[in-house]
Symmetry: C2
Subunit: 199 residues, 2 copies
């Protein structure tokens, strides 16, 4: 059976978005620097991203994509990403955790599921031997870490202190021991791969 | 003139100590893992640290010590470290930032100073061409970052989520842009070196 991984970009002070994140400003005010690594450099909401990942950023993405079998995301992430324009960009099963699964849009690009546990079960079956990646947001990753389902965690730290926004570990009070799997760095991010130790 | 650096160990969720840090438990409850890298592995308050830094941990320490000209620390750090037994362990000028400089102990192992700005000025003069390192705690590093005096920042991330304690960036609302200088990793820590960009 495939692995369950979680990965998310944060600032040095642990924010996964600046203030007031939502549709049209998925990373919040001042938060685009969190995803400079995805787009090959700085970008803004008005003009949108222009470039592509290169170097270590591309190496990380390519390795992640090569093993990927299914994706789990939270409803807020889905909304903030503006439903990825209504089309699943991965070409792989994507499960959206939501309190309102009945709002599932037509088609099966995105499958709405009522709980994280159920989403992970469905994703695991869909992924077969491949990886299930929990891509965020913060709330879904906190739930996944607290439930003990995450086997590997990648924290992607952008070189910025944001000062304000939505913290990955806000309200998370569990102790979780980790083990290093490796680190890589580009001009735009430091990727730290951890194995989650069983208690 | 020498550089002003700041460096501190944190958990993955950004805590520099577990709850209830103080004398005899300088890293708070459950916080000793933050300094496993200093002592070559896990340790506890009862038995104290036994080992020494090796490999990448030692390389980081050796490089830091080679350039060091003076140290600035906060009063809480000084108290939590139990005054380093009353003897300056660096053999270099150490300035302690405190609201009560009149409590300076006899001798000049530790020089009590009434503000961070004053401590940095004195340390800079004492260090000459060498580095002034602001070693923490969190409050002193936040003040130093907010005042713009820090030229290089090293975040030393231990592979643990603590869940509770004292956050490095708690209450810090400034935006600070950084640039990567490099990264190294041992089994016990990931050392991320940043240059602080001028606004």
């Amino acid at each position: 059976m495939g692995k369950i991984t979680a990965s998310i970009s944060t600032s040095v002070d642990g924010f996964i978005a600046g203030p007031n994140d939502g549709p049209g400003r998925g990373l919040g005010e001042g938060g685009t620097a969190l995803h400079s690594w995805v787009f090959g450099g700085p970008w803004d909401y008005d003009e949108g991203p222009k470039g592509e990942a290169t170097g270590e950023d591309k190496a990380f993405l390519d390795a992640a994509m090569a093993d990927l079998g299914a994706v789990v995301a939270g409803r807020w992430t889905y909304e903030a990403a503006e439903h990825w324009g209504g089309t699943n960009p991965w070409g792989l099963p994507v499960f959206i955790v939501t309190h309102r699964p009945e709002e599932q849009p037509p088609g099966d690009d995105f499958r709405f599921v009522g709980s994280l546990a159920e989403a992970v079960d469905l994703a695991r079956n869909a992924a077969g031997d491949k990886v299930v990646n929990i891509m965020g947001g913060a709330d879904v990753i906190r739930q996944a870490l607290a439930s003990g389902v995450v086997e590997e965690l990648t924290i992607i730290v952008a070189p910025i202190v944001l000062g304000r926004g939505k913290r990955l570990f806000d309200g998370f009070e569990n102790r979780v021991e980790l083990e290093h799997l490796g680190v890589r760095q580009s001009p735009f991010a430091t990727f730290i791969d951890y194995r989650v130790k069983r208690a």
